[in-house]
Assembly symmetry: D2
Homo-oligomer: 287 residues x 4
């Protein structure tokens, strides 16, 4: 009997838990997120507080909550200029459902578009922690920051690469960046990463006339608030989603379906037009 | 000259505006959303107010803002039980990037999952506006509501269909629904659609012991706040996105990559196993 | 002991197979698809034969194989005119990876684009099986076909809807349709569904000058080959995928990244531009 | 007049062609792909020939056509074991449409899953062209191959990384790889890249008992056929798509919708369960 019971246990081990989570526990009539009953959270915490609770495990302080709110609002919309918004609207024009269009928008966040927040957070966090070039070890002083800033900016410029978080193809001075930096000071969310971002801006402005953009400002602030850079694109998506939904809805309700966003005369052909006669004949003979 | 100028204008008409929007205008160093400069919005409006502004064109009243905040918080997470969350985590285990995993989650909102909010809003809005069955015309009184409720519930049950927004596969009584209804009263966001949803609950509870779920409650409330049912899934996505991001991040940082979520012995084969010898020979001869 | 053993079995039932499949069985060093070892299939069956084997469970006859090959080739590409191709290329320009761009293309198959094959197959199969309007029961004769054709076309026209599979926004006479119908006769793959599709074309041409397109031809042929209409979009995707891959590759290798597909002056603003001063002040005071 | 005309031209330059393509030209009633009318291609070329034409611009030789056919067939299916197939079926169970489920499958091709073909092609092509480690310059002889093989394998093993294209979590000897290598010889499609891949296998088998898998074999063959490694995942998708469609269809037609693929007791909670009482009270007081 005893051995048989053991076998049972062993056999059941085969169906060990597949999922492990510290986020939310579900029981009949009970939903507990990070230790709180959801019915207690609803009506008592703000949406950014819920975002913070989900991503970092705790409810933020009042100042952190206001800062995260500002960050999310700042990502909200950039009109129809971003390719992600164009993709979402183009898909909406084909009659694709809301969630397909939104996915199309989200999937358009490629290497050259919307990745700057995460890349910038990564650079700031890695350099603050480990230094760069000949300057190794964690950054500790203004002097350290100035030293690595010089090395870092030079490295990017030498490789002909843009420093992520700086410069904007529509704005010489991104109005969101200034406001965010101001708020970060007000809410005490400005630390070494933000300082570092501002040092990069000073250097880039001096050398190339380039200023910090919304991603550069937020990457400093979110890093100082303790967000892992791997959450960068995730946080950007949370902020940007309402606009994508809004643009898809506007396209679906205001425009005629399956409209031609591009006309035939906007397509140029590179040598595709001549009939390949000889092979056509060969094909015909094979027939 | 005059005719030539006309020709110019006609030629330029060919490149008429492709996009029209009332959401956000972009100018150098200026981003204007629904008439407001974004630098004025950042730090001055809450994220739910920004959602409302984007989707409906205006900043909401303080009570509406609090109500929408509660609605978004209530959608935040249901742990690992929803297939959308399982899909997002399964994709995360393959090393897919954050935006691909999030898209996988969003694309899992199918007919049987996560569509209830929009379906429920549609039913409530269409019936309130046009009646149902023999009871035509807009609903005006408690008497009207009671009459259509009876017709509607009977119709669904006769077709063997679930009324969207009622019943839950994990909860006999969804704790989020009660709290939301209570808040809707507090914030003055409870009107004829919410009343109608509650009448449906009373009828379903009486007949089948089924109660309102989070979607049923929010569909009444959002309809009373004037949101078009076509925005239902969009609003749900805005609320749920932080959790999907959080689950993808947890999977990526806490679990080993490419782990086997399903073992081979969890796959059952239906007659696929026998070798089809004769045709194999025929194939070999063709060779 | 006996009862205990039973309990064990019952407990193990809890971990019953999650997946059941008749498609492919995996064993160490063995991959068996629909009863065939894959190493026997590779080099011995054509790709369209593999498609047929996967979707219908058997290897097709030689004629069916040639017909399916022609159908897949006919779906291959329509240049840059389809919104799905535009979406895939627009996404490629942002630096999104190949699989994201391809997904964007596939997700653009909406109600108004690329759904015609499946819709058309559904109409043909349902009407052939059950009739339409006053003409119930399965179609049996030329007379039946003529009768339902008249009813069906009238129904669509009265509702102001297009009959799926007929008419094309670039071609008055789709060159692919004629060729496919010719091949269907040659390969003996033309039956009652194709005859029905051609009767619809005759009627539509007579009334409106509209001809069958590639989807209309293939919907008749695939239905006569026994493909369930629910596979329509799936088969279309198999045929179209190589072109999407090719367009994404061309965009990535021939064009500059993050190029502007739309210029700012192609965006028109609807009343978004005026500053909402009063509320701005109110907001400022709140601050 | 002259200056005005110039201005016209300049203004029109603004609406220069947005798209350039060498793939397919569309004219009324004419579809020309890589110089061939599609109605001539349909019925005259095989599907793999169309794939080759789209991706490489020409119709392949008969042997190349047979080789590509075998490559595509070899990718067709690996049952329910790949996470991409599990994702597609899980999504199908929610009632998501075919194209969403297929996208979910395709988006699951992450760093650890289904990327091996492209990574392996990249390694082979870059090393054949430029050498590796101390051995620079293009590979020219058996001697060169042996030298770089040793360097390359050691490099991967030292970094604790798998050589892409070798080893399989279900097969110690992938039956598809052997067959493909045999066919590559038969069809004259085996050159320096395939030889290199086989040298890597010999070395890995000697050192670790690891053999070439389907991706390793195909990466050698496709590279010898002149396919750019950037097309690796694209070609894999073309081969795998029919299986994903087939699995989604099987799930939708054979299983009950919204079934629970995971039970609640398969979820393990990490400390999420305790009620955080104190903060709840604080929240209540704020209310």
């Amino acid at each position: 009997m005893a051995t048989e019971r053991k076998t049972v246990e062993e056999m059941l081990k085969l169906s060990a838990p597949k999922w492990r989570t510290a986020i939310t526990k579900i029981e009949p009539n009970k939903i507990i997120t990070r230790g709180y009953s959801q019915e207690d959270l609803i009506g008592n915490i703000s949406f950014p507080e819920m975002v913070y609770l989900l991503l970092k495990g705790d409810i933020p302080s009042e100042n952190e909550s206001k800062m995260l709110e500002s960050v999310l609002v700042s990502f909200c919309d950039h009109g129809i200029t971003p390719p992600s918004t164009q993709v979402a609207r183009l898909m909406a024009s084909t009659g694709s459902p809301m969630n397909s269009c939104v996915s199309g928008g989200i999937l358009s966040f490629g290497k050259y578009h919307a990745g700057a927040l995460e890349s910038s957070m990564r650079v700031l966090q890695e350099v603050v922690q480990k230094g760069v070039g000949g300057h190794t070890g964690p950054l500790k002083s203004h002097h350290d920051i100035n030293a690595v800033t010089e090395i870092l900016v030079e490295e990017f410029l030498e490789n002909g690469e843009k420093v992520p978080g700086f410069g904007h193809r529509y704005h010489t001075e991104d109005p969101r960046a200034r406001k965010l930096i101001k708020l970060a000071k007000k809410y005490g969310c400005s630390g070494i990463h933000t300082e570092f971002a501002r040092a990069i801006e000073d250097r880039l402005y001096e050398m190339k006339g380039i200023r910090m953009n919304v991603d550069g400002a937020n990457s400093g602030i979110l890093s100082d608030m303790g967000f892992d850079w791997k959450l960068g694109t995730g946080i950007f998506m949370i902020g940007r989603l309402p606009a994508i939904v809004s643009h898809v809805y506007e396209e679906k309700t205001s425009e005629s379906p399956f409209r031609k966003l591009f006309e035939v005369d906007e397509i140029h052909y590179n040598g595709v037009e001549e009939g390949k006669i000889d092979i056509l004949k060969k094909l015909a003979n094979k027939e």
